[in-house]
Amino acid sequence: MNDQSNSSECKKSEHFSRRTLLKGSLATGAGAAIPNWGGLFHSQSIASMAQKLGKRCILLWMNGGASQIDTFDMKPGKATAGPFREVQTKLPGYKVCEYLPKIAQQVDKLGIIRSMRTASPDHPDGIYHMHTCYKQSERMPHPELGAMIAKYLGQTDADLPSFVRMGPTGNAGSGYLGPRYEPFGIERNGNMPYFTSPYLPAANESRRNDLLRFMEAEHKKENSADAYESHRVAKERAWRLLKAKSLFDTTKEWPKHQELYGASDFGRGCFLARKLTEAGVHFVEIGQDNYDSHADNFVCHKANMQILDPAWSGLLIDLERTGQLQNTLVVWMGEVGRTPQINNRAGRDHFIRGWTIVLAGGGIKGGVVYGSTDADGRDVATNPVSEGDLFATIYTALGVNPRTKHFVGTRPIWATPEGSKPIKDLLL
């Protein structure tokens, strides 16, 4: 591992460039056909609607890889411990980092896996692996978790995309599932990607679209091929998405939620995620920059946790308050953990021998700490969990069979690799 190359690589993801924006906007999806966006928000019908729509997933992506020892797997008194102190959680005997005081009060909702042992030690390959549960080096177009969820939980006639993401996130896209399930990339404040502002006045746009609908109806009378239908459906989806555009705008509600989620871009993204999943988006991913602390690990983590703590706990509280928590799985992870040993720049490097990922909500048993690392945190001590096991757990919690089979050409490929097992202790 080369620190220098890593830190230069890591910087790229720090800003939301035009290019990432464009890449992210390769999009499609589903959600639910809900006619009236304005009236829906915060209404009493949300919970029952949610049940009808089934499960969703929000992925909090810790870009660069957060340190397990400085968060959920503290090693007080050991050489690897670092300067952070512990704070007692709601769970007797279990302590987390002092900079996660709010999350400490939500531990009864969390399933904490402290025994991740993974196989891809760097950023591009780790980001790929932790989004697809397959190695990048297999050179197969594996789809990301979000695309799989879009395919299996999303609804074709929905107004909203099924897979929305913001900030620094995955790098695999919809892979072999195809452009229908591509992520729809937006900014964490809800700003839309390019080409979502019509250039025509509304009245002209509307008559123009009606003329196209007429032409398509004429064409459909004599032409039945699937490809035509796919084109027509995507066109209608693009129109419906723009009608629902106001949903992405959080300008009005944000001041009221800022205190709960914390006044940060990431917090605002978490709030928007809750709003979107509530409205029928099945998978939302929000990235937080940047945990890749090869130098000054503790400064970096303190700053990041102060943003993360209110945002994440606020999200869980808000989901519970709106009756969404049992339907919404919240995943907290990055591409790698960080080394127990502290390097000579007060940094921690990439670590895959024993690190932490946290699940909460939909289908997950709260207040469970699963697996452990040894005294210094140098390796998994009990219950190692692989990428495939994690994904099998996530898929099972969301009601998707982890051994769902697809074909790429004539080659069969499964949602999770052979031998992956869901973690029973964490599943409701």
């Binding site: 195809g178 591509e182 080409f195 064409h219 490809a227 693009a238 050409g409």
Partner: protein, 546 residues
Amino acid sequence: MMPNSNFLRIKLSCLLVLACGTLSLAQVAIKQNKAESTPLRQTIDKAVQESWKKEKIKAEGKCDDSTFLRRIYLDLLGTIPSYDEAKKFLADQDEKKRDKLIERLLNDAQFPQHQTTLWDLTLFGRNPPNQDATRNRTLFKQWLSEKFSKNEPFDLWVRDLILAEQEGSELYYAQFNNKPEDLTESFSRIFLGTQIQCARCHDHPFSELLQKDFYGMTGFFVRLVVMDQGASGTGEKQLKKFKIGEKNSGEVLFSGNQKELKPGKNGEPIKPKFLSGALLEEPSLPADYKEPEFKSGTKTMPKPQFSRKEKLAQWATAPSNPFFAKASVNRIWSQFMGRGIVHPVDNFGTDNKPTLPDLLDNLTEQFIAHKFDTKWLIREIVSSETYQLGSKGENKESLPKHFERARIRPLSAEEILTVMKVAGGDPEQKSEGSTGEYFRRYFGEPTNGLGDFQGSLSEHLFLNNSSNVRAFISRKKGNLADAINLSKEPWDQRIDKMFLSVLTRYPKDSERAKFAAYLQSEPKSENLVEEAIWVLMNMSEFRFNH
């Protein structure tokens, strides 16, 4: 070069020809006679129609002239006819007009360009490795388009591609610099129609391919050296040149099943082996041979005493090769018929049988008998009744398995861009800076990897709201919108012109009436005309070649 190795080389190539050449030469003679008696187009139709009978399939009838006109333009030139061309062809009463048009388009300067675009995409894909080298493929495309301009026999240009000694041709290897395994995958897929990448990591579960077969093929590429010859220009336009050298030594090291790999375990050297064929016989190097050190920055190296790539070129493109001609015919067929007789085209194997095995054999034999004449093969395919079937009907399949209806294939990104310019009435229009990039991004890979089209949200957001697309539609001096606005003709005729320009057909009465009402709904027509042209360019009918 030492005399005895020269001798060996000659002896070896003689052996190869003797071993596999005799039988096929006799076959060729017979097939040539047969070729003259029945045109291939009739053989195609007979075989396809027999399969309909057997499968009890009701097929579509012949397509109408406007469908044919648009289809053949797109398939042979990658564009659509202009308004004038369309009008003239549709009015033409000549019974032979389709054949005449095919001949004219096959001899159009755009035909080799379009073939070049298609094969360039096949050989490099949308996101080729070694981006710095492959971003600007001007030289490669020049090399390839010369081949198609001369209608060089298919086996000969592929041989030159394998030898990589002509300027431009080196880039195919350069994209896989130091990755002979990736090159093996690509080469086998494209030219041998065989997906052997599974065997890269493990023995193939349901075919006879072993890992040793994969690495046996890799042996032909492992000694190649990509030599950087410098670059001209900067940024996106930077043009890099390469030469391909070949070392005298170096072997693939094979270390067994990937899953069972242990660190520190050394692999055993694997001898080159032709796919499903013999081990390569090659002279052994003197025991004390030491390969000269290859320094980066080296621009030339001497030819090796024994060239493995020459042996591969001979074997791969020989008429007797069990894969090459068949895979090539199948791929060319799929360009026009939407799917291969073996589909996907790069996946021949015991688990993926051809739908019309006899026809595939027949096509292969005749392609060989016609000395790999690509233009002849294309002419026969597009002149068949099968190619000229209608595209309507209730069948939902976009790529019907038994070719009982024309395929519905999405236009490529390059085609959409070209077609929008022609349809908008300004074929020479320069596009905005990033337009080409956007088109490739939003229209570049519209399928799910199994060939099924999937409309994407981003494609439509781009079509609906981008100034890049609007630039081809809105009124500008001399373009279609301008002509329609300026015209004093009755609206019906102007509407005919719009339809013919964009969709290469006249409107139905219901459509004409609807457009007439639309275009006259306001006193000023400019906005309405732009909107109407946008509608035609956004139809699914426009999105596909049907």
